[in-house]
Symmetry: C2
Subunit: 285 residues, 2 copies
């Protein structure tokens, strides 16, 4: 790692991905926000930045499919997964100061944040309230800050609310109220790079593969891991996009691809599948 | 099946789910549109309708996670999957008559439709065009029909476009142009009901299960199917929502749960997992 790396993250500023990037690379690195997941990959591919940071999975909402699909759509990208960061997510209801909950008419936020707060909103806000999706939680907080209701249903305009991060509210002098949720809400982010990170004490390997089209293919593909006693921490299927109802699989496994048992398992897997790519081996927290 | 059943579908009217429901139940049935997937389930649960129709999976974009999660969130729902319908999706670019492609300033549609047409839009529309998400393709077509640009970026207002179904455009006398996509674009819909459908010649069984937290658990859960030579057509993992990075699995398998080999496999599976529910056994096309 350079002493002062440049990092592209899925922006805008003050989103969860920005905070995750700072948690990993510290305040003294240079940060560039990119408008899309594709754009983060491209900046890493073109060596415009040293690392990229994109969300991969939320513990309640599941996989960020756009990030996985980027690996399927560009199978030959030189980009590796070189690490991961986990962030606890705390949502805040953000309004102008002195707005009562009973006065709120519309709530804006990213679809995942709206989904995660649905029960709280139903329990605490007026029945007739309307929910609108924005591209990011920051965009939603901006709407409250500048008092612009894109859907034009809120009158007076101070009665708008957003769900977002405390940092974004603070920047505009808005009021932020934690929306409690009893469930574990965490998001995992991938660190993307062109090199290979040093092997750690505990490591994880991420792979992508496409099955041959025959009965039992998935089971057979898992046999090498069972045989080598390698634990799988995640398995995810995504459409292959070549043929309807044909899938590619993403697997995270415990171990580094330079370990003999992992090497053996991956070699055995390669013989059983149509396509296999190691997306990266990297230390875990 | 009643001679004239009542069917709740994920609305509004003229969406793909509506067309899929009509393909299954014909024009003489009674149709009720519901605003959310939850609402479709509830109407079936309360016996307000005979059947419900919800999207489950698109061949390019993957699973409709909200539909799967309804089964996880309400594990004891009496609702069964009683059938499925598949629909080929053809997107249309919909504008007021006499609008040139070069004049279009903003395109509205459901996020899945926007994602599926991204390459076409990039190749055929002006560079500065802006994309906005709506709750349904019908909402997008409505915006074009009544010349209201919710994001207020389009001037004059006839330069708005939507991506949607031909039927919706026809209703308003709008122009619909097929947006060709070389890839197979199909959506699969579930038919929900309280009863059990008659066993067909070829059947499919959908199950939901939660793994015990130990290495090799997924592999072991698949062994009974391998042993009974039962083919799995789909496997999908979703967050358990109880603990971060713990998953529930959805599997579609070939066969009916009254067949001896399926019965044996499900009994063996039940002993290996923490929770197992058969969501339905139903004939396939």
């Amino acid at each position: 790692m350079n002493s002062m790396p440049t990092i592209a993250y899925l922006g805008p500023e003050h989103t969860n991905t920005h905070v995750a990037a700072q948690a990993k690379f510290g305040r003294r690195s240079t940060y560039v926000h990119a408008p899309t997941v594709d754009d983060v990959f491209e900046r890493v591919e073109r060596e415009q930045v040293d690392y990229g940071v994109v969300p991969i999975e939320n513990s309640l909402e599941g996989t960020v499919t756009h990030t996985l699909d980027r690996f399927i759509d560009f199978k030959h990208t030189p980009v590796n997964i070189v690490g991961e960061v986990e962030l606890r997510i705390q949502h805040y209801l953000i309004t102008q100061p002195n707005v009562k909950l009973s006065e709120i008419q519309a709530v804006y936020s990213h679809p995942q944040a709206l989904a995660q707060c649905r029960k709280w909103l139903e329990a605490h806000l007026p029945k007739h309230i309307r929910l609108f999706e924005t591209n990011s939680t920051s965009d939603a907080v901006n709407a409250v800050a500048v008092r612009v209701d894109p859907a034009r249903v809120t009158q007076p305009l101070k009665n708008l609310a957003a769900i977002g991060r405390k940092e974004a509210a603070k920047k505009f002098g808005l009021r932020a109220m934690p929306i409690q949720d009893e469930r574990e809400n965490k998001t995992r982010f991938l660190i993307l790079g062109l090199g290979e990170p040093r092997r750690g004490t505990r490591n994880k390997t991420s792979i992508l593969f496409a099955l041959k089209d025959r009965p039992g293919a998935l089971y057979d593909s898992l046999t090498p891991f069972k045989r080598e006693r390698i634990n799988l921490t995640k398995i995810e299927s995504r459409p292959s996009k070549r043929k309807a109802w044909e899938y590619s699989f993403f697997i995270d496994l415990e171990g580094h691809d330079t370990e003999p048992r992992v090497k053996r398992a991956l070699a055995a897997l390669a013989r059983r599948v149509e396509f296999l790519k190691v997306l990266g081996s990297y230390p875990v927290r």
